[in-house]
Symmetry: C2
DNA sequence: AATCATTGGTATGCCTCATATCTAATTTCA
DNA sequence: TGAAATTAGATATGAGGCATACCAATGATT
């Protein structure tokens, strides 16, 4: 996703069109807000030459040394074939290594290199800083409420 | 996006991997929650043979009869070339028409047909019902707080 | 040993997004 | 007014994120 939605202010001559119906949907609001967050994240990660998915994979590998590709795919909620190219890229850049698992020669144990861990540190710090700025207009209690609501929504699928 | 993330419960044997670092980011939580909402929306719209984008376009055209394609692209935050195929599809299905604008022969005024408005009614009702179910675990005050927070986040870009 | 399941990989296609470029039509303005 | 710039829509094309089908190698089951 290379969007970076250009935020164009409404031209005063053309009539602004109404999205009242859509605004009544939480999903629509979430998408619009998430676009902003994602664009910000994309811009934040660009200096590190990371995309959202490579960043996510790197973080999970650093935090879970030795995990298998299939576990990582599960955690990232993507299919195994799509993870391969992500791992390929991280390995090519020597941010991680594919270690053979002695007890199961089909599998790889993924581990971050020193360089990978250093990039992780810098990227996580940058993303954290950007999030703080993005949430500057909200007090902590509100953020906590939102996070809790998001968790409820995320878990709602298991009911349906 | 044809995802429909298969919600697999964690196998008890394999160690669940930790996403603690990522969980600390609001963006990550938003993405996970939004995936659920989007999957639900996709499933809800499937019986109507609508995707999120065709649905969004249809709703905006019904609510703003006569708008131009470029206005619609602006409202949907997508590029004009990408809107063309969406409009093509809606027109082919005779849900909307491209009327020539007499005062500007470059432009089209988009209008929904009767069939389009009928589909709109059904789809909006279905999506509304699904949202109610998805948000069943949250009280109204919480939803209001979340919507407000989302608006603050969405507008935050204009500050940066 | 034979069958089945799993891991990682390859090939492939769809959808969403972007950019560059084209035409026709309309504005702008020297 | 007439040339240049701008705009509306369309086409072509490519990147990236997703899915499925299929394969080879290995491991698990019986």
């Amino acid at each position: 996703m290379k969007q970076e939605h250009s935020r164009k202010q409404p031209s005063p001559d053309k009539p602004t069109i109404s999205d009242t119906t859509l605004r009544s949907f939480v999903g629509y609001r979430m998408k619009r807000a998430f676009n902003v967050v994602q664009d910000d994240l994309t811009a934040t990660l660009r200096p590190f030459d990371l995309r959202m998915l490579t960043y996510t994979a790197l973080v999970l590998i650093v935090d879970n040394p030795g995990l298998r590709q299939s576990q990582l795919a599960d955690a990232m909620d993507i299919e195994r074939p799509n993870l391969v190219v992500i791992i390929d890229e991280l390995e090519r850049r020597e941010l991680i290594v594919r270690d053979r698992v002695p007890t199961d020669r089909r599998a790889y144990a993924l581990r971050a290199t020193l360089v990978g861990r250093q990039l992780y540190d810098k990227a996580v710090a940058a993303v954290t800083a950007h999030e703080v700025e993005l949430l500057a207009g909200l007090d902590n209690a509100t953020v906590a409420t939102v996070l809790d609501a998001l968790r409820v929504i995320e878990k709602a699928r298991q009911r349906s």
